[in-house]
Amino acid sequence: MMLSVQSIDAAYGDAQALFGLSLDIKAGEAVTLIGRNGMGKTTTIRAIMGLTPPRAGAIHFEGQRIDGLKPHEIARRGLGLVPEGRQIFVHLSVEENLVATAANRTKGATPWTLARIFNLFPRLAERRAQSAGTLSGGEQQMLAIGRALMTNPRLLILDEATEGLAPLIRQDIWNCLAALRAQGLSILIVDRNLDELMRLADRHNVVEKGRVVWSGTSQELAAERERIEQRIGV
């Protein structure tokens, strides 16, 4: 198992957001979290990354326990975060955003380089010296993905990566994720577009009130689609 989340609780102050949530990702797999807003998808990601440390339960990454570690220690084990709202460094240039936190700690055989990122996202290459704050939403999203890839993660975590983007740009992002998937990268993704998620991912988890209430493969999701769409409100 690459990532194993075992019945974690997490809270913001007194407000508990996760209630014994569990989740597994095998190496090379793409797994989704789907559900209505405020059900705990982002909190799950924050708990995995150590940004909102779980209060109970355990998280293992590649066999080692990571809950309780600091966010940078968790990231250094090979988790790359593309956060909700992109969170790019607006005062840095496009190239600096990619370089500032770049690392190859997991000693991948073909590490990501600026050239490979620019190959994946040619629009970023054209704007490499531009201040990242001047990019469009879609370009900022590409930058956030590129920035995470430059840390050479084994597991890429994307939170609402196509949120609020124009359809064409959205398609670019999905194509890029499919390409990354084909290269063997493991992916955990939160999104609302079921068609694209079923095409990209192997397994899906419906999150409701801080728990996984349904999980299954893309075929199983397709079979129960109507019922699940009602639950997650798309």
Partner: protein, 304 residues
């Protein structure tokens, strides 16, 4: 004319010293959000370490590295033991805690070294004068201080603009969480930046040693001026600290030299002297007030 030129150079030298202090203070305030009143104490630690090593062990050239090391070590210890606990606190707690540090350092030095000011000798190599123009000698030491200030300013510019450390510093305080989620040890980064600021404050302290007397309380005087510099320049901005230091250093020096003289054009001698001296001492605050009316976030707001 000759006086003006000399005063301009003195102003420049004060400016560059202020810049060394302001650079560290503005980074700590801008990136970590901590108001560090004890930044002046690091300047004092540098000056005392330098003066003590120069007199007890021997030589200015040994005093400089000793002062840098002392300020950096004390700075890192200050961050690890006290300042680190203040990041999540409000400014009032920060002011109280770092004010406590000022009292602590003043007390330690009074107890360990004594209250009498120390003198630090100028290195013989730099104790002469350079004839900048015929009939215009200027102390070599002050020129050397300026040269060091310029070199440090260029070095800092390089670090901030061209290195990954600089990128992470510029990435900004608002993205701390994101920076750590990408694998950067924020706590370590903060300790490093704090230590770097302490090192520069120590450098300023040891360089000022041979020009002014080394005494308890020297940090507090210069700290207030340094805060004026970073507020005028824009908190968190190295470029702002540089321009602010030039503006404040020049205004202060020229104000003290010329305010009484100018007032004598309209007022009688003693009155002009008194009023001029008062005006000179509030000059930098007037400049700050005007700058803040025109640019409320300072001349170069961080990241702007």
């Amino acid at each position: 004319m000759q006086l003006l030129f000399e005063q301009l150079l003195n102003g420049l030298q004060l400016s560059l010293t202020l810049f060394l202090l302001a650079a560290g203070l503005t980074l700590v305030f801008g990136i970590m959000g901590v108001i560090n009143l004890a930044h002046g104490s690091l300047y004092m630690v540098g000056a005392y370490a330098g003066a003590l090593v120069a007199s007890k062990v021997g030589g200015f050239w040994l005093a400089v590295p000793a002062a840098l090391a002392a300020a950096a070590v004390v700075g890192v210890a200050m961050e690890l033991l006290v300042v680190r606990r203040l990041y999540a606190r409000d400014h009032l707690s920060q002011v109280l805690a770092t004010f406590g540090l000022i009292l602590f350092f003043n007390g330690i030095i009074a107890w360990g070294v004594g209250r009498a000011p120390l003198q630090m000798d100028m290195p013989t190599l730099l104790s002469g004068f350079v004839e900048l123009a015929p009939g215009l000698p200027y102390p070599t030491y002050r020129l050397a201080v300026m040269a060091v200030g310029v070199v440090v300013a260029l070095g800092l510019w390089y670090v901030i603009a061209r290195t990954r450390l600089g990128m992470l510093i510029r990435a900004g305080s608002d993205k701390r969480e994101m920076v750590s989620a990408l694998g950067v040890d924020i706590a370590g980064l903060f300790t490093l930046v704090f230590g770097l600021g302490a090192l520069l404050a120590g450098l300023a302290g040891v360089m000022v040693g041979p020009i002014r007397s080394v005494q308890i309380g020297m940090g507090e005087q210069v700290l207030i001026t340094t805060f004026v510099v970073i507020v005028v320049g824009g908190i968190g901005s190295i470029r702002g600290a540089f321009v602010g230091a030039l503006l404040i250093g020049m205004c202060d020096t020229l104000g003290r030299a010329y305010a009484p003289m100018l007032l004598k054009l309209w007022l009688s001698g003693p009155l002009a002297d008194g009023l001029g001296a008062s005006l000179a001492s509030i000059m930098i605050y007037l400049v700050m007030a005007v700058a803040l009316v025109l640019r409320p976030r300072g001349l170069f707001p961080a990241g702007g």
